[in-house]
């Protein structure tokens, strides 16, 4: 095989990219308006928020754990952001900063409990999920905050240039920052090392608990950022924000080749995973298939992706054996 092709095939993002190109061609053959600037804008809005959600989970998958609470953290940050602007009249930037800080603190709380007690991340984040969700409902009494300033609404619903919405800006910054963190910073390498083999990482002098704290702090920050972005997008501080993040947050990284036992994630693979989900959701609307079917497709995508990843793993192991 051509060396360039074989190198591309081995990357995590190449397969999803091919799927995106094929899906775009097929869908636009059926409906040319799929590639209209307006539709591209809608796609980018969905991708912008969802890729921040996916990155929030991806970093935790990187250390070989899971974070069930990202939706609850994002929801709590979202209603705090809207509530601080409506009730205390804080300026949007200050309220956003406070909401993001809340996300970091919530994530660090998870991280401290997991690393200090050694209890599985699943149980800790299940507990914190209901603590945060209960706080969300307790504060809002399940009613949305409507007093979102116009500047925030405009940020979530206008475009920067051409079809590119303003919300794409924070998403692009997040992608760049996470890429830089994971592949160019020491702490990023540590994150993947801890996920790959925790005892080996510990023995080579990495402070595992510090790495776990970092990862959960970043995850909480990103979840809160996604919540704030959704408030701008939906124009209200809705207490149900975050309720539906869990499946997507695992689907996108897994489609992007992430190994759930940790140590291997792909930033661009995850981004392309989010794009695939967005295209399929749109295609279901275009083909007038019931929107409820999105859930089924998401589930099937996860199964398909973990199956493909498993096969790739087996193939790599065989190649290693032969070599």
């Amino acid at each position: 095989m051509n060396p360039l092709v074989s190198r591309l095939v081995r990357t995590d993002w190449f397969g999803p990219l091919i799927v995106i190109v094929l899906a775009t061609i097929i869908v636009s053959l059926f409906d040319p308006s799929f590639l209209s600037p307006f539709n591209i804008q809608i796609l980018m809005l969905a991708v912008a928020v969802n890729c921040v959600i996916a990155m929030s989970q991806m970093i935790i998958i990187g250390i070989g754990q899971m974070n069930l609470a990202i939706g609850a953290i994002g929801g709590l940050a979202a209603i705090s952001f809207a509530g601080m602007m409506q009730i205390w009249g804080l300026p949007p930037l200050l309220a956003a900063a406070a909401a993001l800080a809340l996300g970091v603190v919530a994530g660090l709380g998870n991280g401290v409990l997991i690393s200090k007690t050694g209890i599985s991340a699943f149980i800790i984040t299940l507990a914190s999920l209901s603590i945060f969700k209960g706080a969300n409902l307790g504060i809002t009494r399940a009613q949305p905050f409507y007093g979102v300033p116009d500047s925030v609404k405009a940020f979530g619903n206008t475009t920067m240039f051409g079809p590119v919405p303003w919300l794409a800006l924070p998403a692009a910054l997040v992608i760049a920052a996470i890429w830089y963190l994971l592949y160019r910073q020491r702490i990023g390498r540590y994150i993947l090392a801890v996920g790959g083999n925790q005892s080996a990482a510990e023995l080579s002098g990495i402070s595992v608990s510090r790495v776990v704290l970092w990862a959960h702090g970043v995850s909480g920050f990103l979840a809160a950022l996604a919540g704030v972005m959704l408030v701008a997008r939906l124009q209200i501080g809705d207490p149900t924000i975050g309720d539906e993040w869990l499946i997507l947050s695992f689907a996108a990284p897994v489609i992007g080749g992430a190994v759930l036992s940790g140590g291997h994630v792909s930033v661009f693979g995850t981004l392309f995973g989010v794009v695939i989900v967005a295209i399929i959701t749109q295609a279901l609307v275009i083909f007038r298939i019931d929107p409820f079917f999105v859930q089924v497709v998401l589930g099937l995508l996860i199964l398909w992706a973990v199956g493909v990843n498993r096969l790739r793993e087996v193939r790599v192991q065989r190649m290693l054996k032969r070599a």
Partner: protein
């Protein structure tokens, strides 16, 4: 959650020989003192303490009607806890208990209302549907060799999505009177028959683990899959059976909900059935079922779930705000695992 390490308790722990197994110790403590140190005793004590506090502190808690409603919720929470417990025993978990439950309830509602089936046939078919969906989970897990977390996360989305797609999110509200009458039935003014269903299910599960070869094979496979496989246990088969059992128990819980509310509603367990997740884990974790697998405490799960329903009910009676209850339950789960950790390190520190 254990009995507080009282002075006598500590002395008793010290008097044991270093051998971990009670058979090896020189003077095994009498049966009843050993019971005082168990998780189950701690739970019973907590249930009684909270019952006293709630009964004295609120006027409504001990009213016959409240005890009746409490019994019904308790029965359902216990069933949901069992449904997760039987999978935790294998060292896995089942995120789709809520989704399977809703599918079974909606299937039952459809058979009753659209197909006009008799009640017992519809219930049987709904349980079979739950078992089949669970078995499919187990089958995919065994065949792919992947962790049950990601597989059941995916099937949660598939089952729930398919159910909504097929029913257009419609609810079935014309449930036959016999069925809702069972949910409304009261014995002696305050006992719900649903509670008997949970007790019978608990007895059957305890019998399964203690008396049957299959139960022992399940425990062996959960404790150490490789060793069990070498001693002739077909581990894959036990995993499929446990997931099918989990699906069937989720179906029982869902039908109890239908009997209680008199309707089969797709939103009865929240989006994707997620609302069942917390009660599903609270029962077994409070009850001392090891998340690593290999140990089941049926009585513990029963008592753990009962404690959770009692606390929920009591907190609502105290009017702490119905919206905050979820936060309290989350804190309770956290507290439970932390206390379990403290108990373990306390016992380890004593050389037991």
């Amino acid at each position: 959650m254990d009995a507080p390490p009282s002075v006598e308790g500590a002395a008793m722990v010290e008097s044991r020989s270093p051998g971990r197994d009670d058979n090896l110790s020189r003077k095994p403590p009498p049966e009843w003192t050993r019971f005082l140190l168990t998780n189950e005793f701690g739970l019973i004590a907590l249930i009684l303490i909270f019952a006293t506090v709630f009964a004295l502190g609120t006027p409504g808690f001990s009213s016959p009607f409240n005890l009746f409603t409490l019994g019904r919720t308790m029965a359902i929470d216990i069933m949901i806890g069992f449904s997760m417990m039987v999978v935790i025993v294998t060292g896995g978990l089942n995120l789709s208990v809520g989704a399977i439950g809703v599918c079974a309830a909606i299937g039952c509602g459809w058979l009753l209302e659209q197909a006009g089936m008799p009640v017992l046939v519809a219930i049987g078919a709904a349980l079979a549907l739950g078992a089949a969906l669970g078995a499919l989970n187990g089958f995919i897990i065994v065949r792919s060799g992947l962790h049950s977390f990601i597989i059941t996360l995916a099937t949660t989305s598939i089952y729930f999505g398919l159910m909504l797609f097929l029913t257009r999110a419609a609810a079935y509200r014309n449930i036959p009177a016999d069925m809702s009458a069972f949910g409304k039935m009261r014995f002696a003014g305050y006992l719900s028959p649903l509670l008997f269903v949970s007790v019978v299910a608990g007895l059957l599960l305890a019998g399964l683990y203690r008396l049957t070869p299959l139960g022992r094979e399940i425990l062996a496979a959960g404790a150490k899959a490789a060793a069990a496989e070498l001693s002739g246990v077909r581990v894959g088969r036990t995993i499929v059976i446990c997931h099918a059992l989990s699906g069937a128990l989720a179906g029982v819980a869902a039908i109890m909900v239908v009997a209680r509310t008199g309707a089969a509603i797709p939103a009865m367990a929240g989006n994707l059935g997620q609302d069942w997740l917390l009660p599903a884990f609270l029962g077994p974790v409070l009850g001392g079922t090891l998340l690593a697998g290999g140990r089941a405490s049926v009585l513990g799960t029963f008592l753990g779930a009962a404690l959770v329903s009692e606390l929920t009910n009591g907190l609502l009676q105290f009017r702490v705000g119905e919206f905050w209850v979820q936060s309290w339950l989350g804190l309770l789960l956290l507290l439970a695992v932390l206390m379990d950790l403290a108990r373990r390190s306390f016992l380890a520190g004593r050389g037991v």
